[in-house]
């Protein structure tokens, strides 16, 4: 049995310990935000946060996640009450097809959780592993900038509360 703690809730799953977290999230827990893009850690569509670090869930077997906290987009807010980063993505309309969006948000969230004063260069360097084929990068960067300002002004935003 594998114990997974996702968005603050513990789940006991009877699955192969080598199963990638992404399959457990989507197949077992019905958390469909993280996407399967390449399955090879090359695109970032599957990015989630583990203990504050952005990781590719397609390359993280569940055996490595016992006693570690996993956060997905579902843990940042809801459609009615989106987190600051989700709200910023909506405000900037930072999506075209939307397939990369969940991964983009989670990678950006990991940065903003540590540092809401990141420079544009730091944001770009941090976001480098995640790809967007539609070319919405400029909007994504604006959304991250907007969210970082919002989070600076209201340091205990909905995202942090939702994840506790």
């Amino acid at each position: 049995m594998i114990t997974l703690t996702v968005n603050g809730t513990s789940h006991r799953l009877d699955i192969d310990p080598a199963t990638p977290l992404l399959y457990a999230l989507r197949g077992e827990l019905g958390l469909n935000a993280a996407k399967f893009g390449c399955g090879l850690g090359q695109c970032g569509a599957c990015t989630v946060i583990v203990e504050g670090e952005p990781v590719f869930s397609c390359l993280t077997p569940v055996i490595a996640l016992q006693d570690r906290r996993v956060t997905t987009v579902e843990g940042l807010g809801t459609a009615d009450k989106p987190g600051p980063l989700q709200q910023a993505f909506i405000d900037e309309q930072a999506a075209q097809c939307g397939y990369c969006t969940a991964g983009m948000i989670m990678r950006a969230q990991a940065l903003l959780d540590r540092n809401t004063a990141a420079s544009d260069a730091e944001i770009r360097a941090h976001m480098e592993p995640n790809l967007c084929r539609c070319g919405t990068h400029m909007r994504i960067l604006r959304a991250i900038r907007r969210a970082s300002e919002a989070m600076r002004d209201h340091p205990t935003g909905t995202a942090r509360e939702a994840r506790r």
């Binding site: 310990p17 390449c38 850690g41 090359q42 583990v50 490595a64």
Partner: protein, 435 residues
């Protein structure tokens, strides 16, 4: 141990320094010139200089990552302290704009700046002493036609007495050999060209030769393997530990393209080197490959057989190796995180990861390089195409990565188990968090 050695080095230097004051004399200044216009340099000479600069990887040390090219000020860590590289753009005041070709040649070959002060051997004049007049002229033309950038280097952070440049008089007396390159008439022209580039402008021994406690290359162990920014720089002689022995063709592919299907991708400090070699003269890169292959030598028939067997296994492997009891965590991590790229089957990502039986890092005497690669992945320099391996430092704990490497060493390595993997993993990770 290292501290003791450094203290010993300092003590020896102190004693030498007292006597040395008498002997020492400042080298003469070479008169400043009016900065020559770009048009003063022949285009084909500049082009040749560009290719030689790529072989010498000048840009790597003389550029702050992301900063203006050749403007210097990159911190170069040495066991003795940090040295900041100089500005080699033709800016008249902070660069080399007022340097004559003669001053440039003396700096390259003797390690003396235009005004007569000694340059630290972090600048490999001990190698560049082999460079021909012709090649130095081309490099001068190249440097003097770069975009001038006004930028002064930060003061070096070296302890006394190493911050006294005159101490280098003794270092040079002890270790600096200024003899020009001597071709070996028994060898081919290509071999000699390779030897000239490897020993001279390429300064491969800077990393691939072990150093003594005063930081000089140990000539008797030339290319026997050294260190670079914490990574091991593998032996490029008969001691080479590559699981599949190198030959000139594979070395050429590796040096030119940054990866070779039988040896994997360049990583760590070798990455910018191969990035530069892609821009160098192709025949020169082949000559380097041919010379290094000669230094490594023909493998014994047993080595050949072992390599063929490894390659056959690598081609056939589609399932991860069966774990021994206690290796389940490492095996599960390999299956879930690594196998999709590093095991046979259709190559979804191109170029795919190599079978780890062929990886020098997994078969190396110590696990440093393998630890760096699993923590940081392999990323081509900004803006360049190349194999992209994700970093795994966030996904796994020290214990988990140690379990992974233990399993890989046992089933894919060609040497006995590493000890203390978890401690080394933790130490490396902590040392980075501090810096």
């Amino acid at each position: 141990m290292r501290i003791l050695r450094i203290l010993l080095a300092i003590a020896i230097l102190l004693i030498l320094a007292v006597g040395g004051f008498v002997l020492w004399s400042q080298r003469a200044e070479i008169a400043a010139i009016e900065p020559p216009p770009r048009a003063a340099f022949d285009r084909s000479l500049v082009e040749k200089g560009a290719q030689l600069a790529a072989i010498g990887n000048c840009i790597v040390c003389h550029t702050v990552p992301g900063g203006p090219a050749y403007a210097g000020n990159r911190p170069i860590p040495t066991p003795f302290g940090t040295i900041y590289s100089t500005n080699i753009t033709p800016d008249p005041d902070s660069g080399i704009g007022r340097w004559s070709e003669e001053a440039f040649r003396r700096a390259m070959r003797e390690g003396i700046a235009r005004d007569g002060h000694h340059l630290y051997p972090a600048f490999p004049y001990d190698h560049f002493a082999r460079a021909s007049d012709e090649d130095v002229r081309a490099l001068y033309a190249f440097a003097m036609t770069r975009v001038p950038v006004a930028s002064r280097a930060t003061a070096n952070a070296l302890p006394f007495p190493l911050n006294q440049r005159w101490t280098l008089v003794f270092w040079n007396l002890l270790y600096f050999d200024d003899t020009p390159f001597q071709p070996d008439p028994r060898q081919s022209a290509e071999w000699n060209r390779g030897a000239y580039l490897v020993e001279g402008l390429g300064h491969c021994g800077d990393c691939h030769t072990p150093r003594n406690l005063l930081g000089a290359e140990r000539g008797e162990l030339a290319l026997a393997g050294g260190e670079a920014e914490g990574w091991s720089a593998p032996a490029l002689d008969a001691a080479s530990l590559a699981p599949v022995p190198w030959n000139a063709a594979h070395l050429f592919t590796y040096l030119r393209q940054g990866r070779d299907p039988e040896h994997g991708a360049a990583a760590g400090p070798m990455q910018p080197i191969v990035g530069d070699l892609a821009k160098a003269n192709e025949a020169d890169v082949y000559a380097i490959a041919a010379y290094i292959a000669g230094r490594i030598g023909e493998p014994s028939p047993e080595k050949h057989q072992r390599a063929d067997a490894l390659l056959a296994k690598a081609r056939e492997a589609v399932e991860p190796a069966k774990p021994n009891p206690g290796e389940e965590t490492g095996a599960a991590i390999f299956a879930g995180a690594c196998a999709s790229c590093h095991l046979g089957g259709p190559a979804i990502v191109s170029p795919r990861g190599i079978d780890l039986r062929l990886s020098a890092a997994i078969s190396a005497p110590d696990p440093r390089d393998a630890i760096f690669i699993v923590l940081d992945g392999i990323h081509p320099p900004d803006g360049q195409p190349g194999p992209w391996m994700p970093r795994f430092d966030g996904a796994f704990t020290d214990a988990q990565l140690a379990a992974l490497l233990g399993y890989l060493r046992a089933h894919y390595g060609q040497a006995p188990a590493w000890t203390d993997l978890e401690t080394q993993m933790r130490d490396i990770r902590r040392s980075r968090e501090r810096s």
